[in-house]
Amino acid sequence: MTAAEPIFKPLGLLAELTHRCPLGCPYCSNPVALDRDELDAATWGRVFGEAASLGVLQVHLSGGEPAARRDLAEITAAAHDAGLYTNLITSAVGLTPKRFAALADAGLDHVQISIQDHEPDSADHIAGYAGAYDRKRLLAAEVVRHKIPLTINAVMHRANIDHVADMVELAIELGASRVEIAHVQYYGWALKNRAALMPSRAQVERAVAAVEALRARHQGRIVIDAVVPDYYARFPKPCVGGWGRRSLNVTPAGKVLPCHAAESIPGLEFWTVRERSLADIWENSPAFRAFRGTDWMQEPCASCPRRTQDFGGCRCQAFALTGDARATDPVCQFSPKHALVAALAEERREEPYVYRRLEREHADSTREKSPAETP
């Protein structure tokens, strides 16, 4: 980057506390190779303090399933004590009322629960976990009882996109103040399952119209946030608000990434919080410098007036689809490879999901209910 460009202060930190998760969602954005060597709570506490000093305001406690960490309350308290706004991103599985009360006491500010569909059979099939739907309903009630604001994250793909209105109704019924219509993005496990997850253009157009009508009908009751799904867009998303510009991601093992999928780009050198301070990593790590600013761009991005709006789109997607991480994200209509996106969107196949499993050798699509969780 040029000397004239300031290094922005990050606003958000995605803390992937663990890659462990009881669910098997086939669209999971976790990398296919999962971290096993997890940071302890004390190290997370240090990272949160460094993050606040760096300017970070909000921490998103995520995973995997963050509740798979028995010390989640301790970690939440550490984030709160560092002055950060704490947002829990959870599947709800593993959070009993007693455990959730401890998080509320620790200063939790906001909860985001994902839902897979508006009714249990389909939802549990997509999650690869019997009973997940019921647990989400129970946790939503607890969150509302504690008067903590609730966002429902409705993850949309071919099997449920026609149920978007029912999913918004469910979010309202659960007491959410906000719902995200989150179309699957094709990274990690979702990339493996792309042909099974991809909606048709007709489905996407119906869903976009439905969301507009829902916004009008429910104005003042619930905030509906939605974006056009990648493969049907004309312009790319400004991925993570620009590489190394607004946010950072710490993996369970402590690697610091500009975005959660960054490890899919070969040749990037990531630094770890086990060896360096977050401020040093943010400013100097080769991975953060690789695509910061606009100097790395090629044409058509380099001379495009939108280059500081969408930053050339997503580097991980550019690499996944073109083999060149410096290429224009092919979602962009100005990309010479744009036709590829349309062709891939047409590759839809009715095939079983490859469920996300930590232990590939135990992969099994017919899961039984897990043993009762201990609080």
Partner: protein, 98 residues
């Protein structure tokens, strides 16, 4: 504040407060006080900060306006209009309870 006359008036004995999940915090690196909400961050201007600091859930609108009018030696009517407009706009975004 021309639009403040169009919004529903706020009761003089209302006790505005930030709901759970909305917090005013100090961050040195971001240059002072910021208002944090679900998936959102706001940088309040100095006047908004003075108003927000007084939204404790204990002080009434009346008392907040009185205090600000005294602190800034400003006409009470103007303060009331400014405070009402800000509180109404925050309440519409679910950032404030009246």
């Amino acid at each position: 504040m021309a639009d403040s006359t169009q919004a529903a008036p706020i009761a003089a004995d209302a006790k505005p407060r930030l709901p759970r999940g909305v917090r005013l915090v100090h961050n040195e690196a971001q240059g002072g006080l910021v208002l944090l909400a679900p998936e959102r961050v706001f940088k309040p201007d100095p006047i908004a900060v003075e108003i927000l600091k007084r939204c404790t859930g204990e002080a009434t609108l009346d008392a907040i306006v009185e205090d600000l009018a005294k602190t800034y030696s400003a006409p009470r009517e103007r303060i009331l209009a400014d405070v009402s407009a800000l509180l109404r706009s925050l309440a519409d975004k679910k950032l404030l309870e009246l």
